[in-house]
Amino acid sequence: MAALLQLDQITIRFGGLTAVSEVTATVQTGELVGLIGPNGAGKTTVFNMITGVYQPSGGRIQFRGRSTAGLRPFEITELGIARTFQNIRLFPSLSVFDNVRVAFHLHLKHAAIHSLSRGPKFHAEEEELREATLGLLKIFNLERVQNEPAKSLPYGDQRRLEIIRALATRPQLLLLDEPAAGMNPAEKVELMRLIQFIRDQFQLAILLVEHDMKVVMGVCQRIHVLEYGRKIAEGTPQQIRANPAVIAAYLGQESTAA
């Protein structure tokens, strides 16, 4: 069976700098995959190429057997890839409810003109979306703050809201960019539970960029490791933990001279 997401030798250069070099990786349907590496290894850049923010200078990206070359970010979301951002990017002035509601956009049957005519079908769909939005918020216990502006939420809730918003696009692949950043240990444990819950409940694949080893090792079935834009290892958490190249990348090489 073909992989859900296939990265084939993808490379991107910014001027003279090769930020990501010939990275090949796959994510299978329903799989929970980690993408790790030291700071500046190119993890977020890989995310930005998958989601169409950057066009790769070389190599191919295929999602569900379709090349994503030349597609704009919203078109890639339409194919079934949703993401969160390293620095939370909610719609700060919109309410919590509207942040989620707006992400149902791809599944809307009405367009600008129908908001003017406001016929029975329009109202029926709006009601449907209201319930779908509330349903999602309820699963994640955010329905009691649905009318608050998104920017007023505490940090951890903002992270969760960003994930909910991504889920509203009904993706088959969810990209999470450092969801544990800035969380305390208790919140991290909660997050691990949440990630697994989302995978099972929504039946999607998750690609997770994360610095926190405990989180990555705890939830991922398979892990890709990047260093200086190159892939240096791939395997199960046990294999990655024992991989000398990975240990060297994180802890530095043992000096042979001394």
Binding site: V53, D98, R101, V102, H105, H110, A112, H114, L116, L129
Partner: protein
Amino acid sequence: MLPRSQILLLASLILAGVVSAFSGNMDTYFLDVAMGVGISVVLASSLNLINGFTGQFSLGHAGFMAVGAYTSAMITTTLGPKFGWSQLGLQWVLFPASLLVGGLLSALAGLAVGAPSLRLKGDYLAIVTLGFGEIIKVVLQNVEAVGGARGLVAVPGHTNLFWTFGTAALTVYVVWALMNSTYGRGFLAVADDEVAAEAMGLNTTRYKIIAFAVGSFFAGIAGGLYAHLKGYLNPTGFDFNKSIEIVIMVILGGMGKHVGVIVAAVVLTAVQEPLRQLGDWRMILYALILILLMILRPQGLFVWPLWTKKTT
């Protein structure tokens, strides 16, 4: 059964029609000011769609207004005398048709300016739209067929209370209805964070183009109303100052606020009458008001709640 918003729109139209029918013996000066107020509401609400809700920065609204004003005035002045129109036919058929054509042409101009320049943001977009407004003005000054720098004279006075306030009600309804739908929340999302909006599957370019097209459509209609209210068009009436005047209404009312912007449009238009004796000092007063406002009430003057308790 119609939705409440549409009943309200219908009621406004009927009210405008009834008041208009009894306006025969109203003071002409008062009528003139009142219609000016209605036109301002159309201009400010339509610009609010672009600058307020969608977060773009257009400085060319007077340019779009000029396109509509000249188009509709040319239609009524050239087609009006032909075909033996009755007064009723002129005011209730030819005139609204000319407004519509003016609005459509203006929307087309909005697309022509918008489509290539919407990759630009903030100040860059402002400069492009400012350039557009100035080009329109210079073109009008140099085309003899529309009167050139002398202006277009003897435009028939078809504008009445019904057309101005009917259009105003329609504009407010359209902008309100666009915003109050799941689709319409996309405009606000684009204003908040374009990258995130794209990532959620929103075609941000399409949103911006719709905002520009709808906004300039109503600016064009406002222009047509203005032409048939004043009876005389001069290219310099659609210069940078006019655009700024509309921008000020939007900022003063609170970007992206429906009622605030309407109130600001009404107040700022009406207050010009007593200020007229100040002549050029008027713009200086405007500037001062803006500066004070930015310092004291950056969220806009008429944003509810008017007073909030400071939480410390």
